[in-house]
């Protein structure tokens, strides 16, 4: 037992939040549920070949022929292994988590770029979020949001948000001071400077943050499955708990394929393709 009773204090805080924050958590739960199930239906309703075709075209346009072929073969393999539904569930979960992480993380990153105080406060918080064993997030997530996909997304968001904040902050701070000065010298307002100059120049770094956020979200797949988030993570867990080595391996391969496809696609977003006119 720690003499400072850190654990007990944390328990009390969670208890207090659980009773006082219930309406807020319910609202968050409703929004996230809508988001996840919406994405899931969008991915599962069309025939799998349509989704594969869309991914292939995306990969072809963004990355080139090689990636397109890999995407098509990989996704066909997933379908062949009978993991299509689980994969699409996982994709919906990952995309929802990444979306929430970016919606929260990018504005925070901008704020941190403008204020040294905010940056200084955020830095240890982000370190904590990223280094704390991800399992720890599962407990309060379950207490606040019960079992299912929503607490899975919440835990994933906490774990995956730091790079979005960090790289947005970095991207904006990396914009050469003289370019910002030039914008101001020609009469840009702070808002115009941010929207027309700083953010567009920060885009490549920002997209690196998007890429990292998505990758980290994917790495939470198995952990969030422990609280009932479903998808490929659930299949992996089944493989472990029921000693079905084959299923575990196949699910693992599906995660890897998904990871590679998502990585290549988001990575390519960061590279300049065509110049803006």
């Amino acid at each position: 037992m720690s003499t400072l009773k850190i654990g007990e204090g944390f328990e009390e805080l969670i208890d207090w939040l659980g009773t006082r924050g219930a309406p807020v958590f319910d609202a968050i739960r409703a929004v996230l549920t809508a988001c996840i199930s919406g994405l899931e239906s969008a991915l599962l309703l069309p025939p799998s070949y349509a989704i594969i075709a869309v991914l292939m075209v995306l990969a072809w346009r963004l990355c080139g022929l090689g990636t397109a072929v890999f995407t098509a073969l990989g996704m066909l393999l997933i379908q062949d292994m009978g993991l299509w539904k689980a994969t699409m569930e996982t994709l919906a979960l990952v995309l929802s988590s990444a979306l929430v992480a970016l919606v929260l993380g990018i504005p925070l990153g901008i704020w941190a770029a403008y204020s040294r105080v905010v940056e200084r406060v955020l830095r240890p918080a982000l370190d904590l979020m990223q280094t704390m064993p991800a399992f720890v997030y599962l407990i309060p997530a379950v207490l606040f949001f019960r079992l299912g996909k929503v607490p899975g997304v919440v835990a994933t968001v906490i774990f995956a948000m730091p790079p979005a904040v960090r790289l947005t902050n970095l991207g904006i701070r990396q914009v050469p001071a003289e370019v910002v000065e030039a914008a101001i010298a020609f009469g840009a307002t702070p808002r115009q400077t941010l929207l027309n100059v700083q953010l567009p120049i920060a885009v490549p770094t920002l997209l690196a943050g998007v890429n990292q956020t998505i990758m980290l979200s994917l790495s939470m797949v198995v952990i969030s499955a422990m609280i009932g988030a479903g998808g490929l993570g659930e299949q992996v867990l089944k493989g472990i708990t029921q000693l079905r080595i084959g299923l575990g391996f196949e699910s693992g391969i599906a995660v890897v394929i998904l990871a590679i496809v998502l990585d290549r696609l988001t990575h390519a977003l960061g590279k300049p393709r065509t110049r803006s006119s």
Binding site: P176, E178, V179, E181, A182, A183, I184, A185, F186, G187, A188, T189, Q192, N196, V197, P200, I201, V203, R275, S276, S277
Partner: protein, 394 residues
Amino acid sequence: MEKIEVRGLRKIYGGNPERAIALLEKGQSKQQILEETGCTVAIQEASFEVKAGEIFVIMGLSGSGKSTVLRCLNRLIEPSAGSVHVDGVDVTRADRAGLLDVRRRKMAMVFQNFGLLPHRSVIRNVEYGLEMQGLERRESRPKAMQALELVGLKGYEEKLPRELSGGMQQRVGLARAIATDAEILLMDEAFSALDPLIRRQMQDELLELQSRMNKTIVFITHDLDEALKLGGRIVIMKDGCIAQLGTPEEILTSPADDYVRAFVEHVDRTKVLTARAIMRRPESVVHPKDGPALAVKRMRESGTSTLFVTNQARKLMGVVRIEDALKLLAENKHSLDGALVTDLPTTSPDTPLARLVAVAATTQIPIAVVGEDQSFLGIVSRATLLASIAGEQR
């Protein structure tokens, strides 16, 4: 009226500028103020006027406060004290909207490392200032094209800045500033990042453009040669103070203090100084009707062997040598007409010394400096020429 009028400008960085200013007024040094208040004095005091249509150069080493002064003009840096009047209106008192208007319409800036928007094409960069003025694309495009043509970059509209060389990028920066139609150009070490050859070329082009545009240009540089070449007037800054303000010739021929003197020591004076700056009034001249007797007398008095001859309107007619004058005297002539040498070296007052050297090498007599209307302005002897090149004080 002066285009820009800067009065008592000060800039202090740190927590307690009021106290630092009070100490400055008591005559304390930067170092003392730093120790006492923790404040850094960037500009101790600067006052000057910039005339409409001139190239006004602010020169100094890094840390002299020259860039800070420039940025106080459009308040990229907020001055701690003093005023900046542009066309009679105090910019330092302008509100947010007023300040934006000054930046959008009155002043345009060119930066050392160009400050171009890397994600925008050349033409979209040139349009940036116009966009800030609230112009629609169809209005701004022709203006931007015109500016781009003026700097010789027609055909590069759709390139990205990184696809251009440094010199070309700075032309884009210049075009962006010109396109806004602002009457004042603020140029912050605009050519310092370019290699020497391109740099000289850009200086020439700026002078050529300026002769057509007639903008008011405030040009910052750490390079004295550049300052002397471009500047109609030059301010030399040292430690946040103005060490000297004057024309290039004034600065070269009568440096205000040892700092400026040390600065100008290594300048190639022959390219900057002109005949006007070193010419002396001729001690004596004669008119043709004065006759050989007077001419010989004057030459004896001044100890020279030649004498310049002018008419009543002080127009130069020629020169007479002592031996010819003596011969005329012996022949009992009363006019110098017969002995007048008209084939003599002359030069315009704006000729740089470098070119005078060549003239001086071919002749024994001093070089006559004459105006466009042949009026006799002064003489440059070989001795004067050599002394000026050596940097001797007169």
